[in-house]
């Protein structure tokens, strides 16, 4: 059905997006907890900086990542020498870029879910003998779970469409960094590639629809959890 190059792009896209969501999640959860439950000086500024990936042109994001995480960039050089992790021209770089760009989606969904939880429930759990970690695991997390899942699915879907940051940061290497959008772009650049572009676009639409469906399913599950 799909040519080897096409399925390669599809699988790469799924892998990049999955890794992007997973690595960004703990950071999003930690920052969401901080923003939902604590007030500190400069909070508004922090909130603003954290939404930057959403409003900055992706190409600019890619360029900034190249400066920081390129092999000669300060963070990139350090990671390469101490941990052996290389981002430049690698699919891991694509995952890094996607995770950062979709970070605000996860953060926002988790934060809203946390803020919607009645703080009184934690107090009630405390008077029933639950320690702080116990309260977090058994009250806060399960109640925030629908928001967490919805945020992850939205971020995953958005990540599948990332183009500008990836092509700027890690280039367009078949099998390494050529995700679906990059493959569509490349097909259109090549003579006679219209058919490939159309097929890959249809695939992208199907993926988006699946994402929307999953998000809806997660919401229903959540309602059922709180239902009678």
């Amino acid at each position: 059905m799909l040519s080897p190059a096409e399925s390669e792009a599809l699988l790469l896209s799924l892998r990049v997006s999955l890794v992007a969501i997973v690595w960004a999640f703990p950071f999003a959860l930690a920052v969401a907890l901080l923003l939902a439950h604590r007030n500190f000086p400069g909070k508004t500024l922090v909130e603003g900086v954290l939404t930057l990936p959403l409003v900055l042109p992706p190409v600019v994001m890619g360029y900034l990542l190249l400066l920081a995480f390129g092999t000669r960039g300060p963070l990139g050089a350090w990671l390469l020498h101490t941990l052996g992790i290389r981002f430049a021209f690698s699919w891991t770089g694509a995952a890094l870029a996607s995770g950062i760009i979709t970070f605000p989606f996860q953060l926002r969904a988790i934060r809203l879910a946390l803020e919607a939880i009645d703080r009184g429930l934690g107090d009630a759990a405390a008077t029933l003998g639950a320690r702080p970690l116990d309260r977090f695991v058994n009250i806060t997390l399960p109640l925030a779970l629908p928001g967490i899942v919805a945020g992850a699915i939205t971020a995953f879907a958005a990540s599948l469409g990332e183009f500008g940051a990836i092509i700027t940061f890690v280039s367009n290497i078949p099998g390494e960094t050529r995700t679906l959008p990059l493959a569509i772009y490349s097909a259109l650049q090549a003579p006679g590639g219209e058919m490939v572009a159309a097929r890959l676009s249809a695939l992208s639409i199907v993926l988006a629809l699946i994402g929307v469906g999953l998000a809806e399913l997660a919401q229903r599950r959540a309602r059922a959890m709180l239902g009678p």
Partner: protein, 366 residues
């Protein structure tokens, strides 16, 4: 088991300054108008609020001592708390809610005790349900059970009935009474309802503007003019601790004995010897200097005037001592003058049987 509390805490708009002790068994009511600091005090006892200054000890163990820098967090205090809004965990079944505190209790109630409590609160049919499907009254009962199953050394109840309509209140009150009589856990009951206090409390602490304005047994305080003046409670009357002494079956009447006399009321289906609480409203008591004869009222009690409070307007309240039991009569100032009522004057208090508050309430078993 007892609790001793002494706190002072300044909030943005007002300060709480209170010291009191709750002794073993029974219900102590923290009574007062909204904003008097009642909830702040129970939150401090539970550890949900950290007073700026104070000492709190539960069963002799200090849980707060600001001078010594001691603050035991709420999860280690073993204080059960029934919140006004129930605060059931929405993602758990009723049974999981009930077992939440039970699982974490250092000393767990036995399976029999758990079943007994579930039966006592009438929760058997609800165990598999989620809180969102419960009525307000059912939620209240689950919250009560959940708090009790954590084996607390003290139970705090913060207006557990305030959010409920009259029918739901009537549904929960009997459960609270049974708990008071069976559970043997000291309870601190926050309320601004004199009705609830009269029904449930043994001891009343009146809180006003963050300070304790009066305290004493519910029978002493309700018949006390100083208390009613301080509480600003609109309609009040004396609460009487009575025992069913005789059933006049042919007349459909019941005779209730109390320290200082007897009260004949409409028939009550209770065995002889049952201890009850009745409320005699001040408006329902008439006074006479001479013993009235050929009068329809069944109750003519010999009393002495112990205090007179005049005003506002045409009203005057007369506090009566009936062989050690306090009664209050609300009459006009003109009548006070005409009958020359001053403390020490003997007077007959006339109470119509039909006016005695029909909500006759079981008293705690001693």
């Amino acid at each position: 088991m007892s609790v001793s509390v002494s706190i002072s805490h300044a909030f943005e708009r007002f300060a709480v300054e209170a010291a009191f002790e709750v002794r073993e068994g029974g219900v102590t009511a923290l009574f007062g108008p909204s904003g008097a600091g009642k909830t702040s005090i129970v939150n401090a006892i539970a550890g949900l609020l950290r007073p700026r200054k104070g000492q709190i000890a539960i069963s002799g163990k200090p849980v707060l001592d600001t001078d010594a820098g001691l603050f035991v967090p709420p999860h280690a205090r073993r204080v059960g708390y029934v919140f006004q809004d129930a605060r059931l965990f929405p993602h758990m079944s009723v049974e999981d809610n009930l077992r939440f505190g039970w699982r974490r209790a250092p000393v767990r109630a036995t399976a029999q005790d758990v079943d007994h409590l579930i039966g006592l609160l009438g929760l058997e049919a609800l165990l598999g349900r989620k809180p969102s499907g419960l009525s307000g009254g059912e939620k209240g009962r689950v919250a009560l059970g959940r708090a009790l199953l954590s084996s607390p050394e003290l139970l705090l109840l913060d207006e557990p009935l305030a959010a409920l309509d009259a029918a739901r209140k009537a549904e929960i009150l009997p459960y609270l009474e049974r708990l008071r009589d069976e559970a043997r856990i000291p309870m601190l009951y926050v309320s601004h309802s004199l009705d609830e206090v009269t029904r449930l409390a043994d001891t009343v602490i009146l809180l006003k503007d963050g300070r304790i304005a009066a305290r004493g047994s519910v029978f002493d305080l309700l018949g006390d003019l100083e208390f009613s003046a301080a509480s600003g409670a609109p309609a009040y009357g004396a609460a009487l601790d009575v025992t069913v002494s005789c059933q006049r079956v042919e007349d459909d009447l019941t005779v209730l004995a109390f320290a200082g006399g007897e009260l004949v009321v409409g028939r009550l289906d209770r065995p002889i010897g049952t201890r009850l609480r009745v409320r005699v409203r001040a408006e329902d008591v008439m006074l006479a200097r001479e013993e009235p004869r050929a009068i329809s009222a069944n109750n003519v009690l010999r009393t002495d005037v112990s205090a007179v409070h005049e005003g506002p307007g045409a009203q005057a309240d007369v506090q009566l001592d009936c062989g050690g039991t306090k009664l209050v009569a609300r009459i006009t100032r003109a009548s006070v003058a005409r009958l020359a009522l001053v403390p020490g004057v003997p007077v007959f208090a006339i109470v119509k049987s039909v006016t005695v508050d029909p909500r006759i309430l079981p008293a705690p078993e001693d």
